[in-house]
């Protein structure tokens, strides 16, 4: 494996008494498409939120693109990261949320073009041109002047993907991006993501309950349970021939719930 773009080393996380991540360790290679699956509360969304700096860690270290995420060098050792350090590190990472989190008071176009103007000093005309390109790519160029409230869930999520892409992050995090959508709207979002996976060499981490999509999309699948990685491997192995009992049990339940794998 080439040098990892994400190195997660013995990371632990507690919410009060509840330990949601226990000495979690794994690496992600540049350009890798990684699917994180597992039951609710298994910690898969938490690790995404930690990578986006939305949650702090209680122990361990994380490196993104060769640099400590939650720490910074100080007096030959490491100190907790300050806001300036986090700000610099966030430029490498983008995230798409389950509930889209678009800015409701801005048009679709402004949602996508404003962040690069504010955080990267991109000129307005360039930001607009780039935003229109991205909206075109996700099939939302026609709705550029609409407000988010006028869009369907699938359309909102495609705009949210364009907004995250506009900042050109090295790592993109997708947190259950189809879970809040009506069933008939899921496919239009997944299609956009399939294209992204094929056409870019961006590193992508995907938390999902869509097993067949994880199967197609991912180079590698991590199965989480109880704050640990129980099993990992290429999708064919995890989905058709899982070794661990807990993985087998989880997949059985998923199939019983009516999903194809």
């Amino acid at each position: 494996m080439p040098d990892a773009i994400i190195e997660i080393d013995k990371v632990s996380k507690r919410f009060g008494q509840l330990e949601v991540l226990k000495d979690l360790t794994f690496n992600v290679a540049p350009g890798e498409k990684l699917a994180l699956i597992g039951p609710s509360g298994s910690g898969k969304t938490t690790i995404l939120r930690i990578l986006m700096t939305l949650e702090q860690i209680n122990g361990g270290h994380i490196k993104v693109d060769g640099e400590q995420l939650w720490h910074m060098p100080a007096n030959g050792g490491l100190a907790p990261a300050n806001e300036a350090h986090l700000h610099r590190m966030r430029a490498k990472i983008g995230m798409v949320f389950q509930l889209f989190n678009l800015f409701p008071h801005m048009t679709v176009l402004r949602n996508v073009m404003l962040p690069p103007i504010l955080t990267q000093g991109v000129r307005k005309e360039d930001a607009e041109a780039r935003a229109m390109e991205l909206l075109d790519m996700v099939g939302m160029a026609e709705k550029a002047t609409a407000k988010p409230a006028q869009l369907s869930g699938g359309q909102k999520q495609r705009v949210a993907i364009a907004r995250a892409l506009a900042l050109q992050p090295k790592v993109m995090l997708f947190d259950e991006v189809t879970s809040a959508l009506d069933p008939e709207l899921v496919e239009e979002v997944l299609n956009v993501m399939r294209r992204l996976a094929e056409e870019t060499d961006m590193t992508m981490l995907l938390v999902t309950h869509e097993m067949s999509f994880a199967h197609d999309f991912a180079d590698r699948v991590l199965f989480f349970d109880g704050g640990r990685i129980v099993e990992e491997g290429p999708p064919d192995q995890i989905f058709t021939n899982p070794r661990e009992e807990r993985t087998q049990g989880f997949l059985k339940k998923v199939i019983a719930a009516g999903q194809r794998i």
Binding site: L54, H105, T119, P148, L167
Partner: protein, 223 residues
């Protein structure tokens, strides 16, 4: 009818001059109140304890003492401390600071009502704290503040009547002058009743227009 006009036109003019003072006080008082509302409201949300303390002290002091006392302090005590002040300045200061204290709580409440997911989107988009407030949180919170700001502005308008106590010739002051000179209470006070009501209606109208414009296309407000 002409008799009525001949008798009253001079006095009505006097009241209209007072109306101009009332309007001036209301506009400038609202401007100061708006600034104070944002300064103190955001101060209460600050991460620094001394800013929170300062803002809380200001709010509690001006909400907890009467506008009447504040006005007298501004007009009679500040000059003793070496700050010469005109009646108009004292009135604007007292009204603006008083209503601003109420407005600060409106600002704080509205900002806090914006969901966590908006802040998280801002972090994911790598906006700074200032940019998050300026471009994402405050524009959404402002829409929520507007109706209450409208109420506060009307309260301020009605509060301007106390300035007659420091002999500022506002509308109420002039009505009393007319009453003293003519012996009639009904005509001057019905006149200012109508004028106050028209001014309050104008404020309500402006706020409603602004609200309609700002909520255009927002969730839950589609028309």
């Amino acid at each position: 009818m002409f008799d009525f006009y001949d008798r009253w036109s001079g006095y009505i003019d006097l009241i209209l001059q007072g109306a101009l003072v009332t309007i001036e006080l209301t506009l400038l008082g609202c401007a100061l109140a708006l600034v104070m509302a944002f300064v103190a409201g955001l101060g209460r949300l600050s991460q620094h304890w001394y800013l929170r303390w300062l803002a809380t002290t200001y709010i509690e002091f001006f909400r907890g003492t009467s506008i009447f006392v504040q006005l007298f302090w501004a007009y009679f005590v500040l000059p003793l401390l070496g700050l010469p002040i005109t009646p108009l300045q004292a009135a604007i200061l007292a009204l603006g600071l008083n209503v601003g204290a109420y407005g600060a709580e409106v600002v704080r409440g509205a900002v806090r009502s914006i969901g966590r997911e908006q802040y998280e989107a801002c972090i994911a988009c790598n906006l700074s704290r200032f940019q998050t407030m300026r471009y994402v949180i405050l524009p959404q919170a402002f829409v929520i503040m507007l109706p209450t700001f409208g109420n506060n502005a009307i309260e301020l308008l009605k509060g301007t009547a106390v300035v007659s106590l420091i002999s500022l010739a506002d509308m109420t002051f002039q009505a009393q002058v007319v009453r003293a000179q003519t012996g009639s209470t009904a005509v001057p006070f019905i006149t200012i009743l109508i004028l106050y009501f028209l001014m309050a209606s104008a404020i309500a109208w402006v706020v409603r227009r602004l609200e309609n414009r700002l909520t255009e296309g927002l969730e839950g407000t589609r028309k």
